[in-house]
Symmetry: C2
Subunit: 210 residues, 2 copies
């Protein structure tokens, strides 16, 4: 079995409004966060969850990047879904169909009771209901983890869903043109080798697969 | 038909040497380039091709980002392949299997005869042999396009291929743990609606599908 993740609930993929941004943020698995350090820009991949009007993500309390972000560094958070390879009749007309969102702002650190709740929301974003299937995080685990929130206030979205156009130099060209669809593939869950054969697959994993 | 892109030629996915970086750069479809602008960091997705010891990418000559990069701005170029969702026995032990590469440096602009060659290499990276199937780029197309090269000199690579470990609080837990494999899915090519039914699929598109 190899299947696609659920496509966006909205059929109008050219939209660039807040609903379309939300769909994109809820659909892509990772984003890229950039900060300007003294030594230059740094861009790192990060898993995340959207919680209404903010993005939640976490990292080690010892991380240079996390500490800079917690201290209020300007951040840029970018997500992209590459939805197709556009095969044009020319090299110039060849490219990609994609949806991309770019958020700007400063993060705030989530602490106290909100921290455990934020981590549960993060876990459940990937594996629906997972946080109720496993034990609560220990104090030690929580202390080792920093949770940051980036507000979704300043953002832009760019979408390209165009089909390849005619060749400007040869409008009558009947060469092949089209799109190769691309999607997030998901394979069958692979259990750890030490598991007993009859160990049931959790509901949360079934939820991710649907 | 829904299929995965060719996996890395190397079976040792935990490697972080230059060969492993090359494999990753040749495998992922897009990267993320970050620069530090006066107004803050900016991270944008970009398609690219590896040409030996450099990364080639292009954009509009009118692009703010491209002009800043051409002027020698420090850049960070990051690529990631998310290879699996790691389902741990705890929230803390849940995460992702991934390979990520981060390059640092300043770009140089490619001009003259090298520019057309770089664009052909870029096109052929996605669609093998495509540049020989289509006409050469016109002078006007070349003038509208800026091509930049980032050297692969300063870089780091991080890989997580670990299976989820035991629950530190309950080492005898026999709860399910494992990995959900993730991969780049590729669908059947969709021809433009105006094409004649008998228009053959180009060899380059067949090459991408293999």
């Amino acid at each position: 079995m190899a299947r696609t993740l659920k496509p966006s609930r909205h059929s109008n993929r050219a939209a660039t409004d807040r609903d379309a941004l939300n769909d994109l943020l809820d659909e892509v698995l990772i984003g890229y966060i950039g900060i300007s350090l003294d030594e230059g820009p740094l861009v790192l991949p990060v898993s995340f969850a959207r919680d209404g009007d903010r993005i939640l993500f976490h990292g080690s309390v010892g991380s240079h990047r996390m500490r800079a972000l917690a201290a209020g560094a300007h951040a840029c958070f970018t997500v992209t879904s590459v939805d197709g390879l556009t095969v044009g009749r020319t090299s110039f007309g060849t490219g990609m169909q994609y949806r991309s969102g770019v958020l700007f702002g400063a993060c705030t650190q989530i602490e106290g009771a909100d921290k455990a709740a934020a981590l549960e929301l993060y876990t459940d974003r990937y594996l629906p209901g997972r946080s109720a299937e496993v034990r609560a995080s220990t104090k030690k685990e929580l202390l080792a983890t920093m949770v940051l929130a980036l507000p979704i206030t300043e953002w832009s979205m760019k979408v390209d869903v165009d089909l390849p156009g005619p060749d400007s130099e040869n409008p009558d060209s009947d060469a092949w043109a089209g799109v190769i669809p691309l999607f997030q593939g998901v394979g069958d869950p692979v259990p750890n080798p030490e598991l007993r054969a009859e160990t049931p697959l959790p509901e949360s994993v079934r939820g991710f697969m649907q």
